[in-house]
Amino acid sequence: MSEFILAAGSALWLGILTSVSPCPLATNVVAISFIGSRVENSRLALLHGVLYALGRTITYVTLGALLVWSLLSAPHVSNFLQTYANKILGPFLVLIGMFLVGLIHVNWSGSDLGARVAQRFARLGMVGSVLLGITFALSFCPVSAGLFFGSLVPLAIRNHSGVLLPSLYGIGTAVPVVVFAVAISLGARSIGKAFERVTAVGRWARRVTGVVFIGAGIYLTLTYVFGVFS
């Protein structure tokens, strides 16, 4: 039993180690900004953080279970995801960012820009946070692949745990991001309160998030598609 608790602690720690390593930084910044932009209601930020963690966990549990039950070959899945997920993610983030800041129009109504930006966020809402978690977890970089496929999966196989240990790992990868996001949301809210401009701060936070999506998307595309920073 104590051995399993040790394994559970290791899984959580491996997750945290993954999220604080430099290579998933671009996607973490996007997630922090997306979750933390709910400035008007910090509880909502926390809820989105939990949904983001759920999304990541879904990916790791699915992969973990398939690998533990030997339905997939780790090297092939890992290399496939490292090669393609990051390549597709860049242009995809640019498009979502354009939608969020209002450069792409998708059948909106209302005249106030702030309201429109808020509306776009609402549309991407709860499902958006889960999808963000699923997608970002799939976009493996060398460090996350090393820790997931090289350390977590062998640990899960040794303990015959295709679900619980990958879940803890998923939660671990999301915890630092969620803590940061909620702290930022609380900080921005108190600044907004001090100046009695919470709604305006929220509006700006969401616009900045759209720009962060575009910036990170361009960075990922330049790195993985055009090989500029490699």
Binding site: L14, L17, S21, P22, C23, A74, P75, H76, S78, N79, Q82, K87, I88, G90, P91, V94, L95, M98, L103, I104, F140, C141, P142, V143, A145, G146, L147, F149, G150, S151, P154, I214, I218, T221, T223, Y224, V225, F226, G227, S230
Partner: protein, 173 residues
């Protein structure tokens, strides 16, 4: 409004170009892969061939250890640190063995044509350090050092992990 249209145009162009570049790159990679499929040698042959190109004089006597660092086209900061720490650990721990060719240090890009077989040979999920023990030119055993990812933040622990494993392989245990 005009600025908005220009920014939208530029970003759409960027997205469009990257999709075209991605598809073109994929087609190119596929045609190279088909060409190189017939040329790729087995793991042992590749180790032998690579050893011949290494800095040390290959030892004619039977026992030899090859330390590989496998990387891809995209290099990350942590990956470079792993490569550098491993090389440093081997050079400071086993200068004589490296000189005599009993230990060989090789850096291989698995995304280069002809090197893809290493992924299956050593079950490579990511950038990896692998030790291979050779006897009379044949591969006897290999081990992937997966803990490098956990230990890379602690250089001392990383160095002793590499050194201990290399020592075991060199002793032929």
């Amino acid at each position: 409004m005009k600025a908005k249209t220009i920014v939208t145009g530029i970003l759409m162009l960027f997205v469009g170009l990257s999709v075209v570049y991605l598809i073109a790159g994929e087609r190119r990679a596929r045609s190279v892969k088909t060409q190189s499929r017939d040329d790729s040698a087995g793991a042992s042959a590749a180790v032998g061939e690579a050893t011949a190109r290494s800095e040390g004089q290959p030892d004619s006597t039977a026992h030899q250890v090859v330390a590989f660092y496998f990387h891809g086209n995209t290099r990350c900061a942590t990956c470079r640190a792993i490569e550098a720490y491993t090389e440093e650990a081997l050079r400071s721990g086993f200068p004589d063995e490296l000189q005599k060719g009993k230990l060989v240090w090789l850096v291989v890009n698995i995304e280069e044509p002809g090197n893809e077989h290493y992924v299956d040979d050593y079950q490579l999920s990511t950038r990896s350090v692998v030790l291979v023990e050779m006897e009379n030119g044949n591969e006897k055993k290999w081990q992937r050092l997966d803990k490098v990812w956990e230990l890379v933040r602690d250089k001392r622990a990383f160095t002793s992990y590499i050194t201990e494993n290399a020592k075991t392989f060199l002793a032929g245990a």
